[in-house]
């Protein structure tokens, strides 16, 4: 057991919807590659995030991947990793170079900070807003989950940028975005918040549910159905639902981005290869892997997604994972960038 690689996962929750999907793909990769994985749930509570790195170091991990809740926490996490010679990669997150230059600098200089895999949240947000605007929405409600969450803040940037872009192009047909309200991470609070938003703004024609693991989205859709506004208010979100296909069909959902549960897999690969010495970690930089969101805007899209992403299927088969383990960093980036519903369909159709 001594020489078996051990990789830690610091995650908000390994038991909620998105978290358990992440766990599923990581467990599969670990099994394929003969790696031990250890999970620590930190609920996005700052002090628990920083403590999780320590716990993983104690557990004897050779490397860890983390989904932090704010950039500043990374200073402490990077220190812990450096002190304990534990490789580190972030998933879903990137250190904001402008807002947190110190942490950014630390990440670059640390020989244990391998890199980050993240979606471009602003781009994702922008794209979703573009979709709803094109589908005719002009007054858009916004529901986040926790105030101040780093991911939400990134997406919110994107939504605002999307509106600006639209308004710049259509000076005579302006769109507006409401201030966000927060629906927490359960479906009943999500529904109550969505109802409140709609009651206060009966004229909205779109609602963005920024995320929160899918439960608030379920609640928001229930709210709209309950008010008899299905189809009148477009809903877009960044979390996939188990019954998204039906919702799309029924017009309850307009578009959805997601599929990001595969993102930690690439962070895992970064750390795995760093431990094996394949990816040299420089003291002046780190690897940045951009993960593409998958966008689903029609029932057909969703069908393909459902077939190859959910249930027992995973986007990569074990032999693919084995092969990927020896990818160079550029190949890995490429594979990541190439991941899409059609990519999986093409690969698995063979």
């Amino acid at each position: 057991a001594e020489d078996k690689i051990k990789i830690g996962v610091s995650i908000w929750s390994s038991t909620d919807t998105l978290g358990s999907e992440v766990k599923r793909i990581l467990d599969s990769a670990a099994e394929t590659l003969g790696v031990d994985v250890v999970y620590v749930d930190q609920a996005h509570v700052s002090e628990q995030v920083t403590a999780s790195a320590e716990t993983l170091a104690m557990a004897g991990c050779d490397g860890m991947i983390i989904c932090n809740s704010s950039s500043a926490e990374m200073a402490s996490v990077i220190n812990t990793c450096t002190d304990n010679k534990m490789y580190l990669a972030q998933f879903f997150r990137v250190i904001n170079a402008e807002a947190n230059p110190t942490e950014y600098e630390m990440a670059k200089t640390s020989p244990y900070y391998v890199g980050t895999v993240h979606e471009s949240e602003p781009d994702n947000g922008k794209r979703l807003v573009q979709i709803v605007c094109e589908k005719g929405a002009r007054k858009i409600g916004l529901m986040g989950w926790e105030p101040g969450d780093a991911t939400f803040l990134g997406r919110w940037e994107g939504y605002k940028a999307g509106i600006e872009a639209w308004n710049a192009e259509h000076p005579s047909d302006q769109a507006t975005l409401l201030e966000p309200q927060y629906g927490r991470t359960t479906s009943d609070t999500g529904r109550a918040t969505a109802e409140a938003i709609i009651a206060a703004n009966p004229d909205i024609d779109a609602l963005i549910v920024a995320g929160g693991g899918g439960d608030p989205l379920v609640g928001a859709i229930a709210a709209i159905e309950g008010l008899g506004l299905t189809g009148k208010i477009q809903v877009v979100s960044t979390d996939f639902l188990p019954d998204l296909g039906e919702k799309l069909k029924a017009g309850a959902m307009s578009a959805e981005s997601g599929g990001h549960y595969a993102d930690p897999f690439f962070a895992f690969m970064l750390v795995y290869n760093a431990i094996r010495g394949n990816y040299p970690t420089s003291t002046d930089g780190f690897y940045e892997v951009i993960f593409p969101y998958m966008f689903v805007a029609s029932p057909e899209d969703y069908e393909a997604y459902a077939k190859y992403f959910t249930g027992t299927e995973l986007p990569y088969y074990p032999d693919e994972i084995k092969a990927m383990a020896d990818y160079t960093i550029d190949q890995l980036k490429e594979a990541c960038a190439a991941l899409s519903v059609s990519d999986v369909v093409a690969r698995h159709a063979k």
Partner: protein
């Protein structure tokens, strides 16, 4: 003659009872420590000794600081037989204040954090004492209130402290602060009348009042102290974390409660509290948290085991004798 025998008999019996009671009391006092040792031994076995390596000890200590500091304050409140559920919110708000002030000067930030905590503690104490509302109702209300405030202040972005503050994130500094707080609290608890007063109020508030204890004042002070001390914990937190998000301090109050109860602190407070409850409790709590991860169990299983161990430890160590009615 016969009655004399009976008297002698009952005398002997009561002497024996007393002896037994003393032995039992002493054992009761050591149970938490025994619990700690058993847990350490068990995890040492399960992790091939990993948990007792120097590295693990250092890392556990690093996590223990804020919890141990804040528990010290809550220890005083719980000695009174009261509860403080606003601790997490205090940690959050104080951390925010410290982060803001850290741009001006570090000492100012520390003072600011302590004052913020003390102010919230004062509010708790004021409502509890002057309206005679049970402390747990008051502190649940203030928890709600200040958690909202914390979220409000961090809506647009996490509140970042001055970046260089994390340079203070060094073991010796945190250790020094924690040791300082523990030592100061210990000295106050042991060498001033505050300690006696706190225990007396917890053991019998009315009699304490008749013995000259200014009960209302002492109670308010305990809440203020608990807030202020958590202000210090907030400083350690900021130093470690660097920026404060809306979730800062979430569930901190429950962690403190669990830790202190695991350490053998009677929930009714009183004279049977021991300062060691703080240290043993926080250590048990963190060893449990980390040990279960080290074994590599999945989260739900970890939590299941944690719940069972918690109940078992409490059931075995709790002192039921000093609770007249168990509520």
């Amino acid at each position: 003659m016969k009655s004399q025998n009976i008297a002698a008999d009952s005398e002997a019996r009561s002497a024996r009872n007393l002896r037994n009671a003393r032995v039992h009391n002493r054992l009761q006092a050591f149970l938490p420590l025994i619990g700690l040792l058993i847990i350490v031994a068990a995890f040492a076995g399960l992790t091939d000794g990993q948990i007792v390596t120097m590295r693990s000890v250092r890392l556990i200590l690093s996590q223990v600081y804020p919890l141990m500091i804040a528990s010290t304050g809550v220890f005083m409140v719980m000695t009174l037989g009261s509860l403080d559920f606003s601790q997490g919110s205090i940690l959050g708000i104080s951390s925010i204040v410290i982060s803001w002030l850290s741009f001006y000067s570090i000492p100012l930030a520390i003072v600011g954090g302590i004052l913020t905590g003390a102010a919230i503690g004062l509010m708790n104490g004021f409502f509890h004492v002057s309206f005679r509302i049970p402390s747990f109702i008051v502190t649940i209300c203030t928890m709600y209130l200040f958690r909202g405030l914390c979220a409000y202040l961090t809506t647009d972005a996490p509140v970042a402290a001055m970046p260089s503050i994390t340079a203070l994130n060094q073991d010796w500094i945190k250790l020094a602060i924690t040791a300082g707080v523990l030592l100061a609290a210990f000295l106050v608890f042991r060498f001033t009348r505050i300690g006696i007063d706190l225990k007396a109020i917890g053991a019998g508030e009315l009699a304490a009042r008749y013995s000259g204890v200014r009960t209302d004042l002492v109670k308010v002070l305990a809440f203020v102290a608990a807030g202020a001390i958590t202000g210090i914990a907030a400083f350690v937190n900021v130093v470690k974390v660097g920026s404060i998000t809306s979730t800062a301090g979430n569930q901190f109050e429950t962690q403190i409660l669990i830790a202190l109860v695991l350490g053998g602190l009677p929930i009714s407070g009183g004279a049977k509290v021991r300062f060691s409850n703080i240290i043993i409790g926080t250590l048990i709590s963190l060893i449990l948290n980390n040990g279960l991860v080290m074994i590599g169990l999945d989260t739900a299983m970890q939590q299941l085991i944690k719940g069972v161990i918690f109940l078992a430890v409490v059931a075995l160590t709790i002192d039921r004798k000093s609770l007249k009615v168990i509520k």
